[in-house]
């Protein structure tokens, strides 16, 4: 190994995390690992870490992300590797089902620096459409106005909100944009940094017939079990608290508060988060402006939108609906939903922090009493889930385009992240794991 490689081997491993089905919570907890440098662009990564199971629809975008990693590169599957020849023949790819992927990732990094073979591109390096232009950048030629000359969308003009006529760019974002919901891709129209319109919402984890790999997140499995059997309330509430903390950690890192995000991720990774730690972090988060002036007014959604989102989004907007109020054990504990006053980004994060604190209190009180939940419907972290597979998630798609349209990029991303959309949870007939 050269001197440069030896120095590089001692750096945190630059890794791009691609969460799949049942992997979002585990992916978020990796943020707090000092051995890893979880990067926001695949260009900056040496290792692509796929967390959770992968659907057929996700394989295409995953291949595109893979090809964006600079050489030398390697892929690590934290669950199971697809058996398609395209992926199976990659050299140096490690498949594992262990609890901690970090040692494997570190080993792959050192192997790459020592001269191990890099992974070739999965896609062909050629333009999507045939050359039609005259000039060196595809310009000119017949029938070139609009459309996709030379395989690239051409920015045509359109009206903007200030009465001007400016270029509009049509593009797809996701599913592996940092902090984006698992499996979600959006076709958007962007004018400058304003997202004018969401033209389509693509759920790349809806079709689970070709799922490869297995579940990583044990926490979400608790809520699935609660649909059909009695589950200790303490277990449910601790899982809820960990989920919300993980979502917050990812949002903080994406929002530029990396040390706070690391600290929250570390607390989220503990089996029983400490209320004092959560209180301390809540104060720091408030002081940073995250749950105050920085995000106040962003991502405001109306009552109809909040009702479609369900869960903490609904309660943050002032509507105190919570399935837990219908369960005797929760009533015995004196449970009352935490209800916010503002349906904006700041309000939703304040709501989640309050619900984390409430969950930890409930868990502490319920455990010595041995209280259990009733099967049927469950108030999951994202909202209600029914035993027949229905729930709050079904209405999200109808409202999401309306909620996200006409927002600056900051507002747009902060809104999506604050909604904590869960397309990847287990539903009846839509398993998370390979058969």
């Amino acid at each position: 190994m050269s001197v440069l490689a030896r120095l590089a081997a001692r750096a945190p491993v630059p890794v791009f995390v691609a969460p799949g089905l049942g992997g979002s919570d585990a992916a978020r907890r990796l943020l707090g690992r000092s051995e890893l440098d979880v990067v926001t662009s695949p260009r900056h990564a040496a290792v692509l870490l796929v967390v959770g199971a992968v659907t057929s629809d996700l394989l295409g975008p995953l291949a595109q992300v893979h090809d964006q990693l600079a050489h030398p590169r390697s892929t690590v599957w934290w669950s199971g590797r697809p058996d398609e020849p395209l992926w199976a023949e990659l050299p140096g790819t490690a498949a594992l089902l262990t609890d901690d992927p970090v040692p494997v990732v570190s080993e792959r990094w050192r192997a790459l620096l020592a001269g191990d073979e890099t992974e070739p591109d999965l896609g062909a390096d050629r333009p999507a459409n045939a050359w039609e232009g005259v000039g060196p950048f595809g310009q000119g030629g017949e029938g070139m106005m609009g459309g996709t000359p030379y395989g690239r969308p051409m920015a045509m003009t359109g009206d903007d909100r200030d009465g001007l006529v400016l270029d509009q760019l049509h593009m797809r974002i996701g599913p592996f944009l940092p902090a984006f919901p698992v499996g979600l891709a959006l076709d958007v129209v962007v004018q400058g940094e304003l997202v004018q319109e969401v033209t389509s919402i693509v759920d790349l984890v809806e079709d689970r017939t070709g799922v490869r790999g297995g579940r990583i997140d044990a926490d979400d499995e608790v809520f699935t079990r609660a649909l059909t059997e009695n589950v200790p309330i303490a277990e449910l509430e601790l899982a809820r608290a960990r989920h919300h903390l993980g979502a917050l950690a990812a949002a903080l890192v994406a929002g530029g508060l990396s040390s706070l995000g690391f600290a929250v991720a570390h607390v989220a990774a503990t089996s029983r988060p400490d209320r004092r730690d959560v209180a301390r972090l809540t104060r720091r988060i408030a002081w940073s402006g995250w749950t105050g002036w920085t995000n106040a007014g962003l991502g405001m959604i109306d009552e109809a939108g909040a009702a479609a989102m369900g869960g903490p989004c609904l309660r943050a907007a002032g509507i105190g609906e919570d399935l837990r109020t219908q369960q005797a054990a929760y009533r015995q504990l004196g449970f009352a939903p935490v209800v916010g006053t503002r349906g904006d980004v700041a309000g939703r994060w304040r709501q989640r922090l309050a619900e984390v604190d409430q969950s930890l209190q409930i868990a502490a009180r319920a455990e010595p009493l041995g209280l259990v939940s009733e099967p049927g419907a469950v108030e999951a972290p994202e909202g209600n889930r029914q035993a027949d597979g229905s729930g709050d998630h079904e209405q999200v798609g109808d409202r999401l385009a309306h909620v996200l349209a006409d927002r600056d990029w900051d507002d747009f991303m902060a809104t999506i992240v604050s909604l904590d959309l869960r397309f990847d949870v287990e539903r009846a007939g839509r398993p998370l794991e390979a058969a």
């Binding site: 707090g32 990067v39 662009s41 040496a46 530029g256 040390s259 690391f262 995250w290």
Partner: protein, 309 residues
Amino acid sequence: MNVTSAPLWLSPLVVVALLVVGAYATAVLDVLATVVLARRWRPNPFTTPVFRLAAMLTRSSVRTERPDRALSMLAPAAYAALIAAGLCVVPLADGWSVADLPAGLVLWGTVEALLIIVVFIRGWAPNSPMALLAAYRYTAVGLSYILLSMFVLIAVALPAESLQLSTIVESQAGLWNVVRQPLGLPLFAVVALGATFWGPLDLAESGDLAGGTSAESTGVSHAAWLVARAGGLAAFSAMTATAFLGGWQGPWLPGAAWLAIKTLAVLAGLVAARQLFARVPAERFVSIAWTVLLPLAFLDLVIAAIGSL
């Protein structure tokens, strides 16, 4: 003695050394801030930046489709060159600066304005949507903090009755500008954060745009850009120390040592801002800049003018 009277080969070496040391100090402080504030993440702050730089240098360069290659190469070099030009006019000790220009303050203001263009170039060059969006967003707020800078720096020049930075430092012999113009330093800190797209004003390299202007950058180019940016933060800290904290002036220690201490103190504050404050949305910052910060800058100018009578 003016350093420009020294051999010509010395001046670039001094500036490059300042840039490199400044960039290293920024990186060390950044890791330290994360270690202290996260309380759980404990890499060595002195070696981690070196290891990270080595890791970046081991990555190959990537070429996007139809990039502007000239601009791709120009951006990090131009950023570093502009920062170096700005450092040239900072008095390093009594009578020592690389280029003690009579209008050094104007040169610094010019550097700030040109940095906006360089960052836009950086986002434009790869022909990639995320990088371009970041460039748009960064440029959209650029005028807001450049105007702030203009008024704050004029206020600093008033008591000295000069645009020459050595004279501005000497004018603080009795009282530092941070005392007689208390609004100036915090406003200039906002300018520093904006020009180096750091912390709450990191609208060019943020995670919500997958790395922004650096989304498609890797290898030597990426490393060079980050080093230039870190050096920029150190340079702005040095300018803050010069304009508001008396520069090299201080008892017992050599002037250069005092400048270094003051620069490090300012740098620590700016670096910590990244870990302490959430990123401000672009539109929100523009509103705050024009409705709150700019009036405060006017007030700062009035205070300076009255104090100079």
